[in-house]
Amino acid sequence: MSPLAPAPAVPRPRAGIGQTAALMALLAAALALAYGLGSSYGAGLVTRTAILALAAVSLSFLIGQAGLVSFGHAAPLGIGAYAVLIAGEYDMTNILAVLPLAFGAAALFALATGAIALRTRGVYFIMITLAFAQMVFYVAASLSAFGGDDGMAIAARSTFFGARILKPDLHLALLAIALLAAAALGLEHLAASRYGLMLRAGRENETKLEALGLDPYRHRLIAISVAGGIAGVAGALLANQVEYVSPSTMNWHLSGELIVMVVLGGSRRLGGAVIGAMVVVLLDEALGRFTEHWKLGLGLVILGAVLFRGAEVRALLGKFSHG
């Protein structure tokens, strides 16, 4: 290989911790600024960014570390949201029960569908994850007891043994940032571990890994479940923020937007997904004010990202062609 065309650098997960800390500080500062200016709109925006970043970080782990491009990540997110709604209908609102429930339900879904999806590669993997997500979307739309197509409002925001700790928006925002930080650091740690090393080896060269005696199937299944679980937590937070859950939470548009966030920020570092989430949410708001055709602007940004990150996108597409 010529020195003119160096392969993309290996992710050095440890180096990402500083970046993650800086991004969390940035989010916290934005939140402080919003409260300083008395802008509840701004605070809501920060919360939404942190929540979507949480989902994007988990997808970034799947794409960047495991090499699995899921086009159905909105499904576990939506399942997390529905967990809040359904548990609320049965008078279960304690956050210590609701969050684990959201994580568990989403992880279980990801595990079951992942076990099948992992039999495929590349573009087929993308299509089958999309198909599973669409199935869940239509199941949710048919749940007439929980709002059907239209969805319904949740009974109440999550509580802590009856105390309504999430009632102030500030608390929800802080919880979202804290969970984002915890997830990012946890996933960084996982990426640096032996498990993470094997996951990346499987992404880079599956044939060799098998010849060395390891079939990465179980590693990938774990990655899918963990990423799904984290997306579920993001969904639970989202349900708490808007206090409303509908099938559109698991619309494929959101799956696509999450992929855009990951690609925009770069999948080699988990922090990239946070940056991507910030950019997409801000664009969404900023352009959405001027024109309802704001997606056109987003499209141009994506085009720019593809041009800038050509090597990475080609690497993803390269995997498809082997599929």
Partner: protein, 251 residues
């Protein structure tokens, strides 16, 4: 005599009407370097794939390390000690030499699910990697990414990844292919230093390497084993000379 490390018993494989492996019987004794030669299209690669487990034979049995492995896949065979060095150097290009060897150590040892400490911070793992990289002449190249290696260095790295697993058998698929003269000689010396300790099945076109290293040579022609014997016998075998080595080529 001790049981062979690897024994192929009447292997057959066809692709449609093309019979690529015909009743192949072959064994590799403990400590032996067994070379497999044959003209292009003789079915060497197909045979190697069946031994490694990436291709299932139509009929016949494969015994490895005292066990019938005919039905096992690539990874389980590798865990039983079958180490394959690919025809086209197969390492993780984006990983450093250290990371490549670490993957090899962990893949077979069952430490592959560790989620506690960072993988590369483990001093025992680093020491083991350092040792094996020293032994193949890659000392001081630990932190260099494999894409930046020369062809011969990448080959040596792949060999290191196999050696670190303490293999029962090394399956070497044309290790000399694409290496320069000096690199080829270096690699031959390296393999010579392993001879007697690790049994090897050496698929090779480079006759100098074959006759330097091999204890026995098998010749594959048209998918079938045409002859097996000591290098000197094979060299003078008229059938082999005619079909493969070429009558006017001095060996």
């Amino acid at each position: 005599m001790a049981e062979p490390v690897l024994a192929l018993d009447r292997l057959n494989k066809s692709f449609g009407a093309l019979h690529v492996t015909r009743d192949v019987c072959l064994d590799i004794r403990p400590g032996e370097v067994h070379a497999l030669i044959g003209p292009n299209g003789a079915g060497k690669t197909t045979l190697v794939s069946q031994i490694a487990g990436s291709l299932k034979p139509d009929s016949g049995r494969i015994r490895f390390a005292g066990e019938d492995v005919t039905r096992l896949g690539v990874a389980p065979r590798a865990r039983r000690g079958l180490a394959r060095v690919f025809q086209i150097s197969n390492v993780v290009g984006a990983f450093t030499a250290l990371e490549n060897v670490a993957v090899a150590v962990l893949a077979a040892s069952g430490g592959a699910f560790g989620m506690g400490r960072p993988a590369l911070a483990d001093p025992a793992l680093r020491a083991k990697a350092q040792d094996v990289l020293d032994s193949v002449g890659l000392a001081g190249r630990m932190a260099v990414r494999a894409v930046e290696f020369s062809h011969g260095e990448r080959r040596a790295l792949e060999l290191a990844m196999s050696l670190v697993q303490d293999p029962e058998l090394l399956l070497l698929d044309e290790p000399m292919a694409g290496t320069g003269r000096a690199e080829g000689e270096k690699l031959t010396r390296l393999l010579l230093s392993l001879k007697g300790r690790i049994p090897m099945l050496l698929i090779e076109h480079d006759m100098t390497a074959v006759f330097t290293l091999a204890d026995r040579v098998s010749v594959l022609i048209g998918g079938a084993v045409a002859a097996t014997g000591e290098p000197a016998v094979i060299r003078s075998d008229p059938v082999v000379r005619k079909a493969y080595i070429g009558e006017d080529e001095a060996v």
